[in-house]
Symmetry: C2
DNA sequence: ACCTGAACACCGTTCAAGT
DNA sequence: ACCTGAACACCGTTCAAGT
């Protein structure tokens, strides 16, 4: 009887927080591919079925994970200039997405009504309303900035994915790519020039530059609409 | 011996085109969830293993599907004004993404160097180069427009996903949502106002309006940069 | 109330073996 | 050259049964 292990006490109970914490950690490390209910359960020292006591299904777990990381976005001080505030919000949003690249997939797939998501749009609306936007223009202005953030991050991730396939298997890949690239150069003169000029830039800093460029264009356009009223 | 079926002739052979065609059809109808190698194979009257003769793995099949639908985007006439041409390209791009919502997931995940993807960026570069953009600004300007397209579609799809969960299970969902929505109204005044004003708009037309709004802001910003040189 | 263990109906991928 | 059939190592989800 001394051999029989103690009955697991009450504090061994899971919490939703622990589950989403483990899920986010796995997603960060290995992406959606690495995430399985069985894996999360194992990491918590529990059977897969146990998770279904706390969560209806995998999709719901993803919704929770999504809102959890949305909480990492920093809302700027209310006293700031609207352009600076909006830019700060966009940059913080972008940095969060780059820390958790798996989120991008969920952002177009999952309904997104968690508390952190709502707080974030409230913050954005407040900034733009303070600047003078109202009604339908207010919605459109906020959407414009948000859309740019997630579009830009999607492009950066795709770029990185491309670089990754080019780096793994450098021997054979480069040989096969050789002929393909020559045809590109012949049929796509503009692209060829830009590829040559961009071949050895740092993906991260160049992505950041493009992000800031487009954001500035957008804010200029918004400011112009504001003056027109 | 008369009962023995005829040996399948040569034309029974698969082609990559058929495979991606079936894959795209399944993805359009049921999304990534419905796509499996076994399902594609079955639809072609063949075993799952047979696909691996034409395609290295599921991921490669997705790359092919991605480039296939990118071919649907219409490149505008070269004679057009650059703003009109760019807007036409963006709108056609957007419409394609809405026809094939599953593409959005791949756009941030898959390397994207297929022939149609390249032709599309070549077209975009040509338009912007014709307008007067060059060097790093050229890259950034095209990225700005592309990012807006995919960001806007991502937002529209997320909106639709949210509406879908609100519609299915109307009884219980609305009851539970009642308390949640009241807290939203209390803690998020701006959001509450916008939700009330937007509650009965058509998602599609409103998304289109926001898309055009942001695109116009962006093009204004780009035009301003052009005048400054 | 909370978890296990086993089961069900699936997956992607590999590979000998056939034709 | 092209495909089958079977196998391997996985999945998400359910649910009686335990404690």
């Amino acid at each position: 009887m001394w051999l029989r292990p103690e009955r697991p006490p009450r504090d061994r109970r899971l919490e939703r927080e622990q589950i989403v914490g483990v899920a986010v950690a796995i997603l960060d490390a290995e992406g959606h591919q690495g995430l399985s209910m069985r894996r999360v359960a194992a990491e918590l020292g529990v059977t897969a079925g146990a998770l279904y006591w706390y969560v209806a299904n995998k999709n719901e777990m993803l919704e929770l994970a999504l809102d959890a990381v949305l909480g990492e976005v920093q809302v700027p001080d209310p006293g700031m200039d609207w352009r600076a505030a909006l830019a700060a919000l966009a940059h913080s949003h972008r940095r969060m997405l780059l820390r958790h690249p798996w989120v991008l997939t969920d952002l177009s797939t999952q309904p997104n009504l968690g508390p952190n998501a709502l707080a974030l749009t409230e913050a954005g609306l407040a900034i733009l309303a303070g600047a003078g936007f109202a009604d339908a223009d207010l919605d459109a202005a906020l959407a414009a900035v948000n859309d740019h953030v997630i579009g830009a991050v999607a492009a950066e991730l795709a770029w990185r994915a491309t670089m990754r396939t080019a780096e793994t298997g450098p021997g054979e890949w480069l040989e096969q790519a050789e002929g393909y690239l020559r045809r590109i150069r012949e049929n796509h003169p503009m692209l060829a020039r830009r590829m040559a000029a961009t071949s050895d830039v740092d993906v991260h800093t160049e992505s950041e530059r493009r992000f800031a460029f487009a954001l500035d264009c957008l804010l200029d356009g918004l400011a112009a609409r504001l003056r027109r009223r």
